[in-house]
């Protein structure tokens, strides 16, 4: 093998090593910072198709310029209340029910124990 060819292989290996190290550091930071839990683009957490359609997109943005009149306040309240409905659509977010013993199938009943 020529010297140039050997150097090319060394360069390639060093590049792979540097890429692996930087990827490892990035993934570590991604996990340790907790961003991984806020990210829905990771495998297994991608939104379903019907979920995407159900999402209501808001285009309204209140202007930071101008005077404050009754009409302006009414318009602001109307649009803000509309946006707040997106929150109210989720009933009791993070309620205790899904993690209760009953919901998870952890029962104290004897019939479960005996499989009756």
């Amino acid at each position: 093998m020529s010297k140039g060819g050997r150097n090319l292989i060394i360069l390639g290996l060093i590049s792979i090593l540097i890429t692996s190290i930087t990827c490892g550091i990035s993934l570590h930071l991604y996990h340790s910072s907790g961003d991984i839990y806020l990210d829905r683009s990771r495998p297994g957490f991608l939104p379903d198709e019907n979920e995407k359609d159900a999402e209501k997109k808001t285009t309204y943005t209140f202007s930071e310029d101008g005077i404050i009149t009754d009409e302006v306040v009414d318009e602001y309240l109307k649009n803000l209340e509309e946006e707040i409905k997106n929150i109210d659509n989720i009933k009791a977010p993070f309620s205790a029910d899904p993690l209760s013993d009953e919901s998870l199938g952890i029962s104290t009943d004897e019939h479960i124990k005996t499989g009756e």
Binding site: Y37, L38, F94, P98, T108, K113
Partner: protein
């Protein structure tokens, strides 16, 4: 007074202690281990969707409504201390919501990774921690909703105190 303080502290100490697992519960966990794990994974995915939905809405409300309204009120010399405090509390509440969700998710992942067939007691203890962390996320969501109600009330009072600037 010291007696009252002791009783108060004892209540907290008691609250932190995990509820011991009964034999029936232990058997039930071992027997239903795989279905419990499936349920937990389903909850994990649903919670992630809820977090994104709420987080996006909070972000929209902050950037499209609260910030512009605050700026407009400042420009019109109408920003009251209650509106400003409410705005700051909302942003702090959003950060707490995200951080508490991260803590909850981390523990939930730990719970899903725990072998419930071999270590049902450890599994149940972790489950109790997860429940506590989940309740904090729920409190954050309720608090943010309450702040938005306060904000709406404060904005409504602007109509009565309308001024030409």
């Amino acid at each position: 007074m010291p007696v009252l303080l002791c009783v108060f502290c004892a209540q907290f100490a008691f609250a932190d202690e995990p509820t011991p697992l009964t034999n029936e519960q232990r058997d039930s966990i071992v027997m239903n281990c795989s279905s419990i794990k499936t349920n937990l994974s389903r909850i994990q995915k649903a919670d992630s969707a809820t977090r994104v939905h709420l987080g996006t809405t909070y972000q929209n409300i902050s950037s499209r409504f609260l910030i512009p309204m605050n700026l407009r009120l400042v420009k019109n010399n109408q920003l009251g201390s209650d509106l400003n405090t409410n705005f700051n509390d909302f942003n702090t509440g959003r950060n707490n919501f995200n951080q508490n969700f991260i803590n909850y998710s981390r523990e939930l992942e730990n719970l899903i990774g725990t072998d419930c067939k071999e270590k049902p007691d450890e599994f149940y203890q972790t489950l109790q921690k997860v429940r506590t962390l989940r309740s904090k996320v729920a409190e954050d969501a309720s608090y943010l909703r309450w702040l938005l109600n306060n904000h709406l009330d404060s904005i409504k009072t602007l109509k009565k105190g309308e001024k030409d600037v």
